[in-house]
């Protein structure tokens, strides 16, 4: 499928790629600094604080535009704008250049997401290791307080930004079109844009180090954020790009799922993973704009001396806290829902039974999505905002455990009288239930005002959300990875190494985070670089466990390198005997996914159903490949 443009380039290098993007980034960055300095010299506020944040923001802004232009992402809309016929982007159909240049193939984008997210997960993980090194002794700290807070802030922000697309990025993009019988996403160019923003915001966040870091952690509360040095601008701009990518992703996936389902794929046959993606996109679409608003106000307070959050001049720090958590709490369900989707998708395959209570599971996902917008003030129980609101937020927060319980019910029901095989994806899915139960039940302590008074802001909170995000989402991510990677790469992973990875990760994860509940309840606050001497034993225990947890990730990386680069054993088209539509296509998946648009004939979980039809008719439909795209 070489195009005319490619034939003039024998090497197959696309005209625009990651490296032209980087050139654009550098040029834009330089222009931005110049423009920012010109603006800054005319603003009194800049000389008053003796720091020109205009040049930082302009550098990031122009850098972003230059990067997107260098990647070739702007040529289509610009050509359209001036009424010219757009030049179709050069598509490299094979080889590594596919992954280093803009592609509108959802399968390439899924894998691009996977490698990009993996890199950030690694960087964020190294941050966690360094944090635990610092906490090996109560005092004196190993890193300076500024370095330590930068580590905490980078670890937190990197992980939150990264995990918000850890499942939606790789699996959402790769699998949703395959699962719904479509050839592409609704907006493939927007899809490419959302991916290419991902390495950019990661890089911008890391530039905070060159400005001396930022002291606020991932929450970015003013007035501390207003007072902080230019590293804060990196945090603000990176998070802004994350929010933009979220909105674009949400619109794209929502449109795809609603409008592009194959004939016969009714709502009650939709795979539960696709349902979880749909619920997640609702949260993203409604939550992320609030974050943008909060960050914009913070930018103005920092650059121009507005007083949105300055109490002395009529502003209020509460405004930011409310806006941030109105995004921030749905955000934690943006992290949780895809995990629910993956484990409920995987359980029926290895239990060889239909998903138990499909409708209850779906209403659980939608119920969590709805309720998550009504709970945000439980982060602010001791803040001094109207105290009589607290019983309401206590009630709504505890109510959210009811739809979450539906997910557990569906999982437990599916296992009843099942024929379970303990393959690696199944092990990770089961560990998800174990971990998320602890994470969820510990959340009840934080929703209850009297016990939250002690636990708020302590290591207990830290343990709680690591149990839900790391123990829940990341375990679900690995379940999905071991389950779908044979389809995505066409290669088998080594099962022995995979089992080693699972057991070391499961044991060291619990050994790391369980003691943190005790540390928090006994009075150790979050984000401190020194602590009382009598906490040393537990902290050392946690640090050593965390290093083992880091080691388990190395086992995974070793497996990945060994299986994908060295042994390269080809995978079967459907190694798990799954009924999922994505497993019915050949491996590797053809560029157009389906030769003809499939006609869905049965539900995806009809295991053991007598005389069940195949999930789809892949041959009979009359829509030829050429007109589908």
């Amino acid at each position: 499928m070489t195009t005319a443009a490619m034939s003039t380039r024998p090497s197959g290098v696309p005209r625009t790629n990651l490296f032209t993007g980087l050139v654009g980034l550098i040029i834009g960055y330089a222009i931005g600094i110049w423009v920012g300095r010109r603006i800054g010299t005319h603003v009194d506020f800049v000389s008053a604080i003796d720091e020109n944040d205009y040049s930082v923001f302009c550098a990031y802004g122009f850098g972003t535009i230059g990067y997107l232009a260098g990647l070739g992402l702007l040529s289509y809309p610009l050509n359209r704008l001036v009424g010219r016929r757009p030049v179709e982007a050069v598509k490299s159909e094979s080889g590594a250049w596919r992954y280093l240049s803009v592609s509108t193939d959802h399968k390439v984008i899924g894998l691009q997401y996977l490698w990009g997210i993996g890199l950030f997960f690694l960087i964020g993980g190294i941050g966690a290791m360094l944090i635990r090194v610092n906490l090996l002794r109560p005092s004196p700290p190993i890193f300076s307080p500024g370095q330590y807070l930068t580590l905490v802030g980078l670890h937190g922000s990197m992980m939150v930004m990264m995990v918000s697309s850890i499942i939606l990025g790789p699996f959402g993009h790769y699998l949703v079109p395959l699962m719904i019988g479509a050839r592409r996403m609704a907006f493939p160019r927007i899809e490419a844009l959302t991916f290419w923003l991902t390495p950019l915001f990661g890089a911008i966040l890391l530039t905070a180090i060159s400005y001396g870091g930022f002291p606020t952690g991932w929450t970015g509360y003013p007035p501390l954020a207003i007072q902080a040095n230019a590293g804060m601008d990196a945090y603000i701009f990176a998070f802004f790009l994350v929010a933009v990518a979220m909105v674009l992703n949400a619109i794209n996936l929502m449109a795809t799922i609603i409008t592009m389902r194959a004939p016969g794929l009714t709502w009650n046959r939709l795979p539960i993973f696709v349902w979880s993606m749909l619920a997640t996109t609702v949260l993203m679409l409604l939550g992320a704009p609030c974050l943008v608003a909060a960050l914009l106000m913070e930018t103005l307070d920092r650059t121009s001396g507005t007083t949105f959050f300055n109490a002395a001049h009529g502003g209020s720090p509460f405004l930011f806290q409310n806006l941030f958590w109105f995004f921030g709490h749905p955000e934690v369900y943006i992290l949780a829902l895809p995990g629910f989707g993956i484990v409920l998708e995987i359980l029926p395959v290895f239990a060889r039974k239909p998903l138990w209570g499909y409708r209850v599971a779906v209403s659980g996902l939608l119920g969590v999505a709805l309720l998550s917008f009504m709970v945000w003030q439980h982060h602010l129980f001791v803040s001094g905002i109207n105290a009589n609101l607290r019983p309401f937020y206590m009630l709504t927060t505890e109510l959210i455990s009811v739809p979450t319980g539906f997910v557990f019910l569906a999982g437990m029901g599916t296992l009843w009288r099942a024929r379970i095989s303990y393959s690696v994806p199944m092990l990770f899915s089961l560990a998800f239930f174990f971990n998320f139960l602890i994470g969820g039940l510990s959340g009840v302590y934080l929703s209850d005002v009297p016990s939250d008074v002690t636990l708020h802001g302590s290591y207990f909170v830290m343990a709680h959300f690591h149990y839900t995000i790391m123990g829940g989402l990341v375990f679900a991510f690995f379940a999905g990875l071991y389950y779908w990677l044979p389809k995505m790469t066409g290669l088998q992973l080594n099962e022995t190494l995979a089992k080693w990875h699972f057991w070391t990760m499961f044991i060291s994860f619990n050994s790391t985070f369980l003691p943190l509940f005790a540390l928090g309840a006994l009075g150790m606050p979050r984000r401190v670089n020194t602590y009382a001497p009598h906490f040393q034993f537990l902290n050392d225990w946690v640090s050593v466990s965390a290093f083992v947890l880091g080691l388990s990730m190395l086992i995974f990386i070793a497996n990945l390198l060994w299986s994908l680069a060295v042994t390269r054993r080809p995978a079967e088209a459907n190694p798990w005997r799954s009924r999922g539509l994505e497993w019915q296509v050949p491996t590797p998946v053809p560029v157009t996914n389906f030769e003809t648009i499939p006609v869905i004939q049965a539900g995806p979980y009809d295991y053991g159903v007598p005389n069940a039809l195949p999930v789809a008719d892949l041959s009979g439909a009359a829509i030829p490949a050429a007109t589908g795209d």
């Binding site: 007035p223 505890e398 557990f408 009843w416 005002v449």
Partner: protein, 282 residues
């Protein structure tokens, strides 16, 4: 459709669950309960300790139920012999109904209990020691000790409006006398956490955030900042004193003597302070 090699009796799960739950709950109440954080140094701390016990007693059986089920299901329902599919059970609407009603009931009871604990004015622990904004949920006694906690990077200082507005770097309160903390900040958001007294109140610029407590015996308590407030957040801690009536009288008299020369340079006492804008400080 019963499969001889892979069936378990639901009654067995229930019996195992009951036995384990009773053991766990008894252990929580009698072994763990007296040592449950944050202790009983004040009515508020004791209320939180009781809440922690109640939650543990309710939640432990839930966790045990799920784990027992998983343990039994995972050991009994395995793929053995010839590979084949399980029975096509799509769901059970009666069981789903029980589950929904059951979880809803537990949640509503917990929320009702939490609200009761928050407002239980008879126990003198109303508000549970959390920051309540400008006014207390239930008024403190007239003779209550008023202490203003001024947070700044990176220390708490304390002002006693009933004792000539004296400002101290050490916090001392009196046993068996209600103390009302008025927490505010002059720079960024802090959180005043008197762990043993069961107090946590955010110090927010421009906000007079109030909580009360009644320490019940002389001793010391740990004070920490619980909201990230900049580079030396980790060092923002001290030890507070709970003194007897006589001890407190002589302590405050001594503080006033010591502070006499600088008192006139302090800004007049107000519920909140707006200092001049600070420079960027990283």
């Amino acid at each position: 459709m019963a499969q001889g090699d892979s069936s378990i009796n639901p009654q067995r799960i229930i019996i195992v669950w009951l036995v384990l739950s009773v053991i766990a709950d008894l252990a929580i109440i009698f072994l763990l309960g007296p040592h449950m954080p944050p202790g009983s140094a004040s009515a508020q701390a004791d209320e939180q300790r009781k809440t922690n016990i109640v939650l543990a007693v309710v939640l432990a059986p839930i966790a045990i139920a799920v784990w027992t089920y998983f343990a039994m299901a995972l050991t009994s329902f395995r793929q053995r012999g010839e590979f084949r599919d399980g029975p096509p059970i799509q769901g059970d609407s009666r069981l789903q109904g029980y589950w929904i009603v059951g979880t809803l009931l537990i949640v509503l009871c917990l929320a009702a209990y939490g609200t009761y604990a928050l407002y239980a004015t008879t126990s003198s622990a109303a508000g549970s020691g959390g920051g309540q904004g400008p006014t207390l949920i239930s008024a403190a006694p007239a003779n209550a000790l008023q202490v203003q906690v001024i947070s700044q990077q990176w220390a708490f200082t304390f002002r006693y409006p009933q004792y000539g507005d004296v400002e101290t770097t050490q916090l001392a309160v009196q046993s068996n006398r209600t103390v009302v903390f008025h927490v505010t900040s002059i720079d960024v958001i802090h959180s005043f956490w008197a762990y043993d007294l069961g107090i946590k109140v955010d110090g927010v610029p421009g906000v007079d955030n109030v909580a009360d407590t009644t320490p019940n015996h002389p001793g010391t308590f740990t004070i920490r900042c619980a909201e990230l407030c900049g580079v030396w957040h980790g060092e923002m801690h001290s030890t507070g004193l709970v003194l007897t009536k006589g001890g407190f009288a002589s302590w405050i008299a001594q503080q006033r003597r010591q502070a006499q020369p600088v008192l006139k340079h302090l800004p007049p006492f107000r519920s909140v302070y707006y200092p001049d804008p600070t420079e960027r400080a990283g």
